[in-house]
């Protein structure tokens, strides 16, 4: 019951945030840049590192499976390229961003809530949604799109590296093999997912931060719940978007 109410308030917060698009006072340049640095630029190393490892592992796994089932590894480029572009290069960074960006937003907003800083903002006639949520939401959209593309690029390059070094593909041959199987719809699908996940994380995290109650323990609990809810929401949305795009791919 409480979870249903929480999701309703998340949806309400989403629309309240969207509403700020039309308010010129909401476009605080300094805050938006700060949020982009915090959620986007500072996540670049961890996203690159983890997707690089994931790219290597998944290419070897796919190669191993193909060898077993088709006794043929010539399909590796197309297969890995598609899999990375559609799922792996998007889901891994999204789940990482939940734990890195989402958790820290909830912790930050929750701390502000329990130490009455949000009340202090209201008393200064500043709308907390406009001041705290909106910049993070914009940053989430921007970094969601950029980090997804970056992650896909890193994963693909690592996958290509495995193909070239481990399975004697030529660099051009590998790229051509990939190109053959990846279309515009794939890029659109990747961007849609990246933007959806990127904008979902700050909304869910801020909602849990605003509902935070009672000192240090409250902040800890809210952070935990935010991470879990955002993870589950991402997995479900991933399924829905994938299902939607199956009609176009």
């Amino acid at each position: 019951m409480t979870e249903v109410r929480m999701w309703l308030s998340i949806v309400r917060l989403f629309f309240q945030t969207i509403f700020n698009f039309f308010q010129p006072s909401a476009w605080r340049r300094a805050e938006i840049i700060h949020a982009i640095v915090q959620s986007g630029i500072k996540s670049i190393p961890i996203v690159c590192l983890s997707t690089a490892f994931a790219g290597v592992v998944v290419t070897q796994q796919i190669a191993w499976h193909m060898d077993l089932s088709l006794h043929d590894v010539s399909m590796i480029p197309g297969f890995t390229g598609q899999f990375i572009f559609r799922e792996l290069g998007i889901a891994i960074p999204a789940l990482l961003l939940v734990s890195k960006v989402g958790a820290s937003i909830t912790a930050e907003v929750g701390t502000m809530k329990v130490t009455e800083q949000i009340d202090a903002l209201k008393l200064l006639r500043i709308d907390p949604i406009e001041y705290l949520v909106f910049p993070r939401f914009i940053a989430g959209i921007v970094s969601g799109a950029c980090l997804t593309l970056l992650a896909v690029a890193v994963t693909l390059s690592c996958s290509a590296l495995v193909g070239i070094l481990g399975y004697n593909f030529g660099a051009l041959e590998f790229l051509n093999g990939m190109k053959h199987f990846i279309g515009v719809a794939d890029v659109v699908c990747a961007l849609v997912k990246g933007v959806t996940f990127g904008s979902l994380i700050p909304i869910v995290s801020c909602a849990y931060g605003f509902h935070c109650k009672g000192g240090a323990q409250g902040v800890g609990t809210a952070t935990t719940q935010a991470v879990v809810s955002a993870t589950v929401a991402i997995i479900i949305l991933d399924f829905l978007i994938t299902y939607f795009f199956t009609w176009f791919l």
Partner: protein, 259 residues
């Protein structure tokens, strides 16, 4: 970079300290079992939910690709194999990190900043033995139970989606499974889950145990715990996948192997 290795070292030392405390105190299993029940029950709904959807996503994606090669025959085997080998252990441990890891870091962190851990020490009780040992071993054991449940659900979900969305019947789905999966694969997955569970448990207990400074400190501990857990898991995944594939190939060679 140096900071990274310092963190890794501190966490490893913490793990050694907890295990030593466990053996030094001759282990009391009652609280560990309590923790296993708590962790498993608490995560059950999330694992069921996520497992189902992950299986469904994977089968949709694989079907899209396999259809292009006219190799839909292999859908069941490929899906089951990927779920058991890679996706299952990874997703379960990510969820465990989010749900239980963050919770444990927050719980221990709150106890630390509100001086409850100091109070326990004052009573002459070892806080590691009293607080950390049950949580650490509890999470490790639960990760195995949850993996088992997660794999079942996600393969079940995959079958259902394959049937409804891709037009592949359940016998068709299961017939190709033995080609890719053996008992060894399953044991390997359990081993992976155990390693990831250990990472989740150690990092979150450690981060909570060393938290400082009020509500902000607890928030920081939780955030750090979830980032580092996921990062270490991805590193471990890299190492383990190599090792396990090697073992798989070797044992198959020795046993004569399946076709």
């Amino acid at each position: 970079m140096i900071q990274f290795f310092q963190d890794l070292g501190a966490t490893s030392l913490f793990f050694v300290r907890v295990v030593r405390t466990f053996f030094a105190t001759q282990g009391n299993f009652q609280p560990i079992l309590g923790q296993v029940a708590f962790v498993s029950l608490r995560s059950l709904s999330t694992v069921l939910f996520a497992g189902l959807f992950v299986g469904a996503i994977l089968v949709l994606q694989l079907d899209l690709i396999l259809a292009k090669y006219d190799a839909e025959l292999f859908l069941g085997g490929l899906n089951t194999s990927t779920v058991i080998r890679e996706v299952g252990p990874l997703i379960i441990s990510f969820l465990l990190a989010g749900k239980i890891g963050a919770f444990t870091a927050a719980e221990l962190g709150t106890m630390r900043v509100t001086e409850q851990i100091d109070a326990i020490e004052c009573l002459g009780t070892n806080p590691i033995q009293y607080l950390v040992v049950p949580r650490l071993f509890g999470i490790m054991i639960s990760s195995l139970i949850l993996l088992f449940i997660g794999l079942l659900v996600s393969i079940g979900g995959a079958m259902a989606v394959a049937w409804f969305a891709c037009g592949i019947t359940i016998p068709e789905f299961t017939s190709s499974i033995p080609k890719f999966v053996s008992i060894g694969t399953f044991v390997a997955a359990l081993f992976k889950a155990l390693v990831y569970g250990t990472i989740v448990a150690t990092v979150s207990c450690h981060r909570g145990f060393i938290a400082t400074g009020g509500a902000r400190g607890v928030g920081h501990a939780v955030t750090q715990a979830s980032i580092f857990t996921n990062l270490y898991i991805l590193f471990a995944n890299f190492g383990l996948s190599h090792m396990l594939t090697l073992i798989d190939t070797l044992t198959e060679g020795l046993m004569g192997g399946s076709p």
